[in-house]
Amino acid sequence: MYLMSEGGHTIPVVAPLEAEGAYTLLWLVVALPLLGAAVLLVGGRRTDRWGHLLGTATALASFVLSVVLFVDLLGREESERQVAQRLWEWMEVGGFSVGMDLLYDPLSALFLLLITGVGTLIHVYSIGYMEHDPRRRRFFAYLNLFVAAMLTLVLAENYVVLFLGWEGVGLASYLLIGFWQHKPSAAAAAKKAFVINRVGDIGLSLAIALMFVTFGTTSFTQVSELTSGAGEGTLTALGLLLLLGACGKSAQVPLQAWLLDAMEGPTPVSALIHAATMVTAGVYLVVRSNFVYELAPHAQTVVVVVATVTLLWGAVIGCARDDIKKVLAGSTMSQIGYMMLAAGLGVYGYAFAIFHLITHGFFKANMFLGAGSVMHGMADDVDMRRYGALRKAMPVTFLTFAMGYLAIIGFPLFSGFWSKDKIIETALVESPVAGVCALVGAGVTGFYMTRLMLMTFFTDKRWKEGVHPHESPSVMTVPLIVLAALSVLGGILLLGDWIVGWLAPVVGEAPHHEPPVPVIVLTVLTVAVVAVGVAAAWFLVGRREVARTAPQDVSFAVRAARADLYGDAINDAVVVRPGRRLVTLLLGVDHRGADGLFTGGGSAVAGVGGLLRRVQNGFVRSYALSVLAGALIVVIALMVVNS
């Protein structure tokens, strides 16, 4: 069933069939990793010896199941590709009903493959990476917990279950960022991620509340039918609130500041959660809510603006950082900006947003794991100024990383080339300003990734004394090779516009727009811009000697970029300090207010010193005075209303 939008194209309605056959096992996809997490957490030290194997096995089992379901779905008619399973009635009283419902459709099918597939590879890699960590079992428990929560998020059939997964991935992310809790920086980073994500969660919870009040339901099936009848104002508000939630989870401006700090977590976590899956949940939310955004063009415009700002913001940060993981984090921000941009372009871009999300999942996970492999060989140093010439010492890591590098800058025929090119092309047609920004961003991407490549694998040795780089064990390099292969070949999803047709039952089909200039011209232009960025890096980094410590006498622009464009300072000024002042104020009122109010007169007589006297809290008379004051206020308030 389809609804018509104003633009003349169709917005599909979610109309799933009852789960049967293999689909009745859908719940197992979530339950397996959840069970793994439970066994590892409850089992305690008894499971230390085989805990990591169990964790990996449950993720693998989920992946196998996902593949089976995917193949089955491929064989179905397009109109039958949405399946829902009701696990149990969560809250049900009269019209107030929320079910523990799962929805399996082409969109969630792709996510399932990405999450369980990349998730399994990262589990395998972690066996090696965390080998010497005494708390490895716990690490695997958290990873499994994360996978289960993320699967809940993408399998949810209504916004409340989605919110459950949303909170779950937030919790797992918090636990994993702060995994090395003995480092104060890790603990602080975990806290920061948590707090900023709460801001986004306010948006999502308000959106759910608004949805419930407007439509009386939060189920995708029903909301997608009802949006066409709602007012545009409501839908715009809904879209903006959902966007706020998406900004928090996907590190989009202005809620971007946590992602760079989140790199304090173990590198497999950065690869899985903060590159491939969780941070893309915001994109998923926007694409999934297409039935809201299609009818709220103003909200879409805001999505495009936020995305464009973020893609440039992240790219600029990537240029200035010397910490290899933070460069990759800035790049992640920027790439998610591209996905958001595509999602904000509406029906023309949804499929490309998801396409880029998947290819990015491959090549960014690949590069993060590669960075982890480099750190593994460099005694956990992350400063690229102390790397250099690692291509000989770590050939496998170098080659696999290079595949990821070529993919992200959009080297022709690599996966990133197809996916990013499509976004830039669509943006140039639909929203030229954003398109030009995206084009510039592609050039900057070429610059900072080349810089990273050169500083790490080429140029001269700048190793610290006593560091002997070595290739990682095969349990770590095999996942790298698999991901590198996927980074190269990911583009085949676009063969014959397969992914566009595949996602059409979920996001609708766009009417064809002929770009003003031939597509090949745009492609050549993009490649040329990237080439300029790469060349700039070659001249600025590759041909010069890299200083072992970052030079301090730099321009304002570089300083701003090193400080993440003052994202923290802005947060501090806008949120933290006023918040702290509020707390101080309330504390002051609580301790002194009532007494101050009533003994103030007497104290004033005794002198100013008396006013400043510290009144010890806990005097029953001051409590009684506050009760009296409260009673007066209540009565006066009632009198005011009365009159």
Binding site: V93, R198, D590, V634, V641
Partner: protein
């Protein structure tokens, strides 16, 4: 009614059975104190109290099944004792809650393993702290706590059942006086405990004065104490409306004091901290349930048709309560005080639910009513609070309970089960999905939202987010901070405390995953009888 003749009220003994049993057991407990030898008092009192509570619970269930529909069928129940007691669905639901948490209270009161063979109550309350008399009373127990508690339970049951203002006032005193005493009976930290009792008593008496004056003014307006008659007078708008407004305000002061709403919250942290933790657990759950029952009955039945007068006031109080509770909890460094501020914040959320009142005409068919939402919220709140305070009693050092935050550092490493249970309860209080607290918050926010109180709901969501911060900070303290030499340890309790904690945690889990039955039950309770 002709005021010159006295009509003997008819008592419906079957429906009054739960209250009568509790009162009877309380009186019997006093007799036990006088006649049973000291050695056997503990066993006698605990068994008596538990048996009485169970008998009352059974009675409550039977009464609940027996209620017949009144009027248009929205409410079920009957008036008895000359209209002074209104036994309707919500009242019976609240009885059930109070009795369940009273059972938990008795189990916690009777815990003797933690203190090495004696209860958590002072051996000789009259002995001055630090004197020879106190040392001599070391091995003794105050078994009077059980009858005191039963009196309080009876007061809590009558409070939301009261059909007129005088009965309500009497119930208020019956529930409060024993609690004042109980607060001062801690075995450890006697001075802190006595200070808490004193403060609670003085402030409680103060606020009762407001309540009583409010009763007088409302009587002046309506010419009756009876809630139904007050309702009619309000509808007819015959009297002096100013008198009504002031009276309403003063009644509100007395009730808002009991639930710990801002600006009447100042006693809460001190009393929660100073009282024996078992008493705090019982009081935090029981008093709030009873007092919210009374608030709902007074404002929905008595002043329901004049809600435009009192709603703005409650808007402000609810907003202040949530914000102050959540924000001040952040600056606490003592577990009991943190839970006290958390309970203040919960009061704010419950008041948000009170604002969700709508006439049945405004409600869509099957929509959750504010009454239903609040009853559900009280259920989840009670279970998690009782279990949380019960866990607080376990974390000890040689000086008794260790409630300072730094003593809890790294508790999760030493006692993962206890710390895990506590963490789960905190998550429920924070309202994380799949816990009872989430469904409760969801329910009260939705009813307030659909009644148009969206600014309050906005503040409520904001405060929930702030509140999550301090809950999670405590979880982090337990699990992600290395234990120091100073860290307290968990003492293994007897089955009594373990059972209370287990039931509380289990109920919180179940209310989060399958809240349907309890929500249905709360909905089935129906409306108040007008």
């Amino acid at each position: 009614m002709d005021s010159t003749t006295f009509v003997k009220p008819t008592l419906d003994y079957f429906h009054l059975w739960p209250i009568l049993v509790v009162l009877g057991v309380a009186a019997l407990g006093v007799v036990v104190e006088a006649f049973v030898p000291r050695a056997r008092r503990f066993a006698t009192q605990t068994v008596l109290a538990l048996a009485g509570l169970v008998a009352a619970l059974v009675g409550t269930v039977l009464v609940g099944l027996d209620l017949t529909e009144v009027g248009d069928g929205a409410a079920r129940g009957l008036l008895t004792a000359g209209g002074t007691l209104v036994i309707d669905g919500p009242a019976v639901f609240l009885w059930g809650l109070v009795l369940i948490f009273a059972v938990g209270g008795v189990l916690l009161f009777a815990e003797r393993r933690l203190e090495g063979g004696v209860s958590a109550f002072a051996g000789q309350a009259a002995a001055l702290p630090g004197t020879e008399a106190e040392r001599q009373a070391q091995g003794l127990d105050h078994t009077e706590v059980y009858p005191l508690m039963m009196f309080a339970v009876a007061g809590m049951m009558i409070f939301p059942t009261a059909g007129d203002l005088l009965t309500m006032f009497v119930a208020l005193e019956v529930l409060s006086l024993p609690l004042y005493l109980l607060c001062g009976l801690a075995r450890r930290r006697r001075l802190l405990s006595q200070e808490a009792a004193m403060k609670y008593f003085l402030l409680g008496a103060f606020s009762s004065g407001f309540f009583l004056y409010g009763v007088a003014l409302v009587y002046g307006f309506a010419g009756s104490m009876d809630l139904a008659a007050i309702d009619q007078a309000v509808r007819a708008d015959t009297g002096n409306h100013t008198l009504l407004a002031i009276g309403m305000g003063l009644l509100a002061v007395g009730l808002l004091f009991k639930v710990g709403a801002v600006p009447f919250q100042s006693w809460t942290p001190d009393v929660y901290q100073g009282a024996p933790t078992a008493v705090t657990a019982f009081m935090a759950a029981g008093t709030k349930i009873a007092a919210f029952g009374a608030i709902l009955r007074l404002f929905y039945v008595g002043f329901g048709s004049d809600r435009w007068t009192w709603q703005p006031m409650l808007w402000v109080v609810a907003i202040l309560t949530m914000v102050v509770g959540a924000v001040l909890a952040i600056s606490q460094s003592d577990v009991k005080r943190m839970l006290a501020y958390s309970s203040i914040a919960h009061t704010g959320f419950l008041l948000t639910g009170v604002l969700g009142v709508q006439t049945s005409a405004e409600l869509a068919d099957g929509q959750v009513t504010s009454l239903q939402a609040i009853l559900f919220y009280l259920t989840t709140y009670g279970f998690s609070m009782v279990a949380a305070f019960a866990i607080v009693t376990l974390v000890r050092d040689s000086g008794g309970e260790a409630t300072a935050f730094d003593r809890w550092a790294g508790l999760g490493r030493r006692s993962p089960w206890v710390a895990g249970a506590f963490a789960f309860l905190l998550l429920s209080m924070a309202g994380i999905p799949l816990t009872g607290g989430f469904v409760g918050k969801w329910a009260v926010f939705t009813v307030a939202f659909s009644a148009g109180a969206w600014p309050v709901v906005l503040v409520a969501i904001f405060s929930s987010v702030v509140a999550i911060y301090f809950y999670v900070r405590h979880i982090r303290l337990m699990f992600f901070t290395a234990p120091t030499a100073d860290s307290a340890a968990v003492v293994a309790p007897s089955l009594l405390t373990s059972a209370t904690i287990a039931v509380g945690v289990l109920a919180t889990v179940l209310l989060g995953i399958v809240p349907g039955p309890v929500l249905d039950l709360a909905g089935h309770a129906g409306e108040f009888i007008r």
